[in-house]
């Protein structure tokens, strides 16, 4: 471990803490329908979109209507994305002449991108046309990220409102989130990435001759626009197979650092939104502090493990840390930090191969995902996941001290606790269940590149990542088989939507409750 390495980690944490109230304040204004500096430009566009979609922005929805609207929205996304991939061979913007994506792979990929997972059983540059990358995948990157954020905001409204029947309007929230938050950040962000050396072109792949005289085809494309949202929206799906380890996706130390910041910035900002909307910003900071403790512990272990290397490497006379699967230009500290960030959030982009990490170093990303990615977490998903744990914690603490459990003025009762349990337990049920099936099903076992415990971890990691909507992988597993494509798709769907539904039921239930007066609480 080096002082520079620790300094990088420290600076990263300091910038996130500094950005949190700024981003949180802005997002609160956006979701409160208040004026923002972008309103003069975007408000007319917003009104136009409502008029075109027949949306009454003053009409709020019951939690059930809000949830069903969200589900139907995703049905449309699934059908369009699936059709785009199956028909890409006859559609335009396909200079590399990619053929139709196989049905099971298209199914897995469609489910992956609508659930914000971005698990990829394919190499982007060798499978997808520019049209699919832009209109299908990047488009879903925006919408799935916006969905996560607005669901968290709906849950926050549940905590913040008293005796209310509604939690907001899904269509209004998604529109405002995309227009006022995601697009205004992604446009300059993509330009920044272009400045750093990320391609943004609709031109064909480039043929080059190497110094040895060999012919090589270099894949390019509309990369910067996809990378910007895949990081900001914690989607993580790379334009290229190597993801953020590819020099065209992540060319410099600066682009690497900014990409790490962008993974966390909205998730951290949402904790501040929570504090502001419930009228007690300290509650937001408390959530961020709890996340911060887990995050720092994870980074410390991973960095230490990777910097220490392994006994096998040392016995071969290789001093220093474990550099297998890491980019020399990023080194151990940035690779370890990136790995923890990407799995603490449900991003899943990687700048190093997690499969090559040491046993302890690889364990932390797995633990982060199995915790439910609540350490800042995916945009929105991290916060509502954390709030589910808060509901449980408050309930258990209430039992211990013999008081009625309450949180930010809302009584936590049987209904909320049962819903929180339903949401939390569905995750291990999926990833443990499918792992158990996969390790006794011979065609699934044949997909493992490694035998023994490491092969088992590859399978467990795959299902954990998909269920947790992360998308990173222990790359040794060959996932592009009918079994892994279909069971993985089911894991992603259940992990996303069957966690959201009980969380929204909690939002609806809390919104109807009265606030417990402070005087009463202190008795």
């Amino acid at each position: 471990m080096t002082a520079i390495g620790w300094l990088q980690i420290l600076i990263f944490c300091a910038i996130i803490v500094a950005l949190t109230p700024l981003v949180g304040g802005y997002m609160t204004r956006v979701f409160g329908g208040e004026w923002t500096p972008l309103s003069p430009v975007l408000r007319p566009v917003e009104r136009l979109l409502y008029r075109a979609g027949g949306v009454d922005e003053t009409h709020e929805q019951h939690w059930l209507t809000y949830t069903v609207a969200m589900l139907l929205f995703h049905v449309g996304g699934f059908l369009i994305l699936y059709a785009l991939m199956r028909l890409q061979g006859v559609l335009p913007f396909n200079p590399a002449e990619q053929s139709a994506v196989a049905p099971d792979l298209a199914f897995n990929t469609a489910m992956s991108f609508i659930t914000n997972t971005n698990w990829q059983n394919y190499g982007g540059e060798s499978t997808m046309s520019y049209l699919v990358q832009m209109l299908g995948l990047t488009h879903q990157n925006f919408l799935s990220a916006a969905t996560g954020i607005v669901l968290a905001v709906a849950l926050i409204r549940g905590f913040a409102r008293a005796s209310a029947k509604t939690v907001g309007n899904f269509w209004v929230d998604v529109t405002r989130c995309t227009l006022y938050i995601l697009l205004p950040v992604c446009i300059p962000y993509a330009l920044f990435l272009v400045w750093q050396g990320v391609p943004q072109t609709l031109g064909a792949y480039v043929d080059a001759t190497t110094l040895e005289g060999a012919k090589q085809t270099i894949a390019v494309g509309p990369v910067a626009s996809q990378v910007a949202i895949k990081m900001l929206g914690t989607n993580g799906g790379g334009f290229f197979n190597a993801n953020a380890a590819h020099p065209f996706e992540n060319p410099t130390a600066l682009s690497n650092f900014v990409q790490m910041l962008s993974i966390f910035v909205l998730g951290a900002g949402l904790t501040n939104v929570f504090g502001r909307m419930v009228g007690n910003t300290r509650q937001g900071w408390a959530l961020l502090a709890a996340m911060g403790v887990l995050f720092v512990a994870g980074v410390a272990v991973t960095y230490w493990a990777e910097a220490s290397g392994t006994a096998t490497l040392h016995s071969l006379g290789l001093a220093g840390g474990n550099m297998e699967g890491k980019e020399l230009r990023f080194g151990v500290a940035s690779s370890a930090l990136f790995a923890v960030i990407t799995t603490a959030a449900s991003c899943g982009a990687v700048n190093a191969m997690h499969d090559s990490f040491t046993a302890l170093g690889g364990m932390i990303p797995l633990i982060n995902m199995q915790l439910g990615e609540i350490i800042v977490g995916g945009v929105g998903a991290g916060l509502y996941g954390m709030l589910l744990f808060v509901v449980l914690t408050v309930f258990i603490a209430g039992l211990m001290v013999g008081r009625t459990p309450e949180y930010v003025g809302k009584k936590i009762e049987a209904r909320e606790v049962k819903m929180a349990m339903l949401a939390i337990l569905i995750l291990p049920l999926m990833y443990l269940g499918w792992t158990a099936v996969a390790v006794i099903y011979p065609p699934a076992v044949a997909s493992m590149a490694n035998a023994g415990p490491h092969g088992f971890t590859e399978v467990l990691y795959a299902y954990t990542s998909q269920t947790g909507n992360n998308g990173s992988a222990f790359a040794g597993l060959t996932g592009n088989t009918p079994f892994y494509n279909t069971t993985g798709a089911l894991s992603m769907l259940v992990g996303r939507f069957w966690m959201i539904i009980p969380a929204m039921a909690i939002a609806g239930s809390l919104a109807t409750k009265k606030k417990v007066a402070a005087r009463e609480r202190n008795v």
Partner: protein, 61 residues
């Protein structure tokens, strides 16, 4: 054909999810009974398949 099966599977999941959301909205006791009945139906269907196969192909067991 595979396309149709996969599309129907996807749509079925979303239909099931809407059903799940509706169940979450109902009074807790009622929802619990629905869950109990659903689990009982699943177990019954599984047993039916198992016993039928065991009846027709006992040599497999």
């Amino acid at each position: 054909m595979l396309d149709i099966i996969l599309l129907i599977s996807g749509l079925a999941f979303f239909a099931l999810s809407i059903g799940y959301a509706l169940a979450c909205e109902r009074p807790l006791e009622e929802a619990q009974m629905t869950l109990d009945y659903s689990l009982a139906a699943l177990v019954t269907a599984g047993l039916l398949v198992y016993l039928t196969v065991a009846l027709l192909r006992p040599e497999r067991f």
